[in-house]
Symmetry: C2
Subunit: 404 residues, 2 copies
């Protein structure tokens, strides 16, 4: 398997497009994205666990209930959530697109992201669809990736090439996600495409298994959004024998999927609202995976630790504190902690108590852009990784007046 350039257009048979249609006031920001497969594709998705669910999620869930889809449309600037006519608007988006593409409306995945509780005006979307469709091309991935961004500062895309049953397959994805991001959900907006042939059932199994260790281990701010959704379309155009059960081929597919999702997780966390640093918390030595995950998530979610990382302050007491209130069954007298980055690694806590360390060296390590918090909690065989970011002035600034 190797990483290749491109995102959702890397796999055979997929094209994409992105335009500014007028939902967002700023004309330089794209606000409508489209991904199309030449032929209907196996489709799988996972959705937010928030009880308040965006109308597009309800519509998408119904559309892909037969296991197939062919196109994805997504607007930014308005979440189409908590609106009386939300379902109707999401259905009409699907119908307008399906009509322009001459595909079935229930083969459309529809998504929205942006402010909650303001009616979504259908007119600019319907008016924009001809230009959106006209723009479809193999080079359209960047434009689509831009079209789904809100407070994101960088486009998030990746693709990999791998082999299934002797056939070369590709899998790529784009993501948006900057704020309202927190574990225990089907996180953010992530659209992935692959030309591997895989049944809807196995595609859903692959996705559901993977997100438990990837997107559900990311937190920017502890807020689980109402509109999060991760989808994969698999159109089978690589020509491999369809994956219909577990085995070598499924494992190869899972590895490719995991490479793409971990990359997108790191990009989403590192581009968290206002973030200056990507934080990666590795927990090892746990008696169960659940314990390792609980500890890693608790540490990555601590506002106090996040602020300390912003200040490059090796305040490891906050790591211990977050382990202690995580709810996990941990012997705190066995906990070791170190900080690691491109500048090296420094141990700051052994067996639950502080050890002497060089503050200068710690500062040098913590001034890097990517920081690993390495925690051992005992002799157990299980480990987990969680991704997050620092808490900064800009997070407050971005969210203090998001709507205006």
């Amino acid at each position: 398997m190797k990483i290749i350039s491109g995102g959702v257009c890397a796999a055979k048979g997929f094209t994409a497009s992105g335009i500014h249609c007028g939902i967002r006031k700023n004309r330089t920001k794209k606000d409508l994205a489209l991904i199309l497969s030449e032929q209907p594709a196996s489709a799988a998705a996972v959705y937010t666990t928030n009880l308040v669910k965006g109308a597009p999620l309800t519509v998408t869930k119904e559309h892909i209930s037969n296991g197939y889809a062919q196109a994805v449309i997504c607007n930014s600037g308005n979440a189409n959530t908590c609106n009386a006519n939300g379902i109707e608007v999401a259905e009409k988006m699907s119908e307008a697109l399906a009509s322009a593409l001459k595909i079935k409306a229930d083969d459309v995945v529809v998504a929205s992201t942006g402010v909650i509780g303001q009616p979504l005006n259908l007119a600019p979307i319907v008016d924009g669809i001809p230009a959106l469709v006209a723009g479809l091309s193999k080079d359209g991935c960047d434009a689509a990736a831009e079209g789904i961004m809100t407070t994101d500062t960088v486009k998030k895309e990746i693709a990999v090439e791998f082999s299934v049953g002797g056939k070369t397959c590709r899998l790529g994805g784009i993501a948006k996600g900057s704020g309202m991001i927190h574990p225990n959900m089907a996180t953010m907006l992530v659209f992935m495409t692959t030309d591997a042939a895989i049944s809807p059932k196995m595609l859903q199994k692959a996705l559901s298994t993977d997100i438990a260790n990837t997107f559900n281990m990311v937190s920017v701010d502890g807020d689980t959004s109402t509109n999060d959704m991760v989808t994969v379309l698999a159109n089978g155009m690589a020509g491999n024998e369809e994956i219909t059960c577990e085995g070598e081929d499924f494992t190869a597919f899972m590895q490719a999927l995991n490479t793409v999702t971990v990359h997108l997780c790191r990009m989403i966390a590192g581009d968290g609202e206002g973030a200056t640093k990507l934080l990666e918390c590795h927990v090892s030595g746990a008696d169960t995976v659940a314990t390792a995950k609980t500890v890693a998530k608790s540490v990555i979610c601590s506002s106090l630790l996040k602020a300390a990382m912003f200040g490059a302050d090796a305040n490891w007491g906050r790591v211990l504190c977050a382990i202690g209130y995580s709810g996990a069954d941990v012997n705190v007298g066995r906990v070791d902690v170190s900080f690691r980055s491109a500048k090296g690694e420094i141990a700051v806590c052994k067996n639950g108590a502080g050890v002497e360390f060089s503050e200068e060296k710690a500062k040098e390590i913590l001034l890097e852009r990517e920081i690993e918090i390495v925690i051992s909690i005992g002799d157990g065989a299980y480990s987990a990784t969680a991704w997050g970011c620092d808490l900064t002035y800009d997070y407050v600034k971005i969210n203090g007046d998001y709507r205006t």
Copy 2:
């Protein structure tokens, strides 16, 4: 019952004192506090639920296991937590104080607050005790309240006068608490005193019952500290017949206690690290108290809502979002939300969907210092209140480099 001036010295037989002994570098900041009862008092306490517990908590728990205590000593600037010799240091603090006061060491409540994981130097405390004891007076409450402050910007104290069995009783308290503050714990440092006569068992019952609706409903930053503790000493000098069971007298005591604890909760939340606003979230119409509490706490803990409140932005979608991911069983189609302050009240959401409202009026309401978020979730009989604060640049600034 009426509110009177004073804090922990309002009740008969209590004196207090506070000095700078040298744990904190800044000589203008007091760092050691003492509260003394003329005679041994019934004692009750609740402690943090964090698995990482400060050594002073372990020592205090043992000291008051017989139900009685006579003095409280508390330092700020160092939490005496995650240190190999923490228990020994906390015991020696108690012994040095007991010796100076000629009381029993196991009648001392000992507490520490500040940075975690740096050995606490006993010398300045032992050297400071003579001056601390010499300073004891009825006017010493302010000095004690200052001695327990860390990043707090205001002293937190209150006292009330009430009647039990025809006798006038007083109950007062001081608190510290600015960061590392979150529900589901025995929160922060709060020391209360009363001259009411009440058995240790009933005192503990009163305290444990009360904190479930008061201190455990406060959140500043979602971080449950390792050193939180709430204690009450009741020395019986008001001369009322000792409260030993439920009934009218116990109810009167509970009311007085609740007045003091709610006041301190509001002071702690409003003085949260970096806070410019006190947020009070009222949830009504719930089918159970647990549901009402879960919803209120989820809303008050949302980083996104906290940032919106800082910006006086009526972004009610974030309230709905926080209700949706709270884990409570809520019919989101029944949710009403309004914002209220001294400038009036404005409805922003009815039955889970937005209603038209004046942005100017909303801004005027949200620019106030104290904001109420009023939520109705149905026809149920239960309600709850939670207290928090906004998320500001200064929270990040304070916590980006706390140790230096």
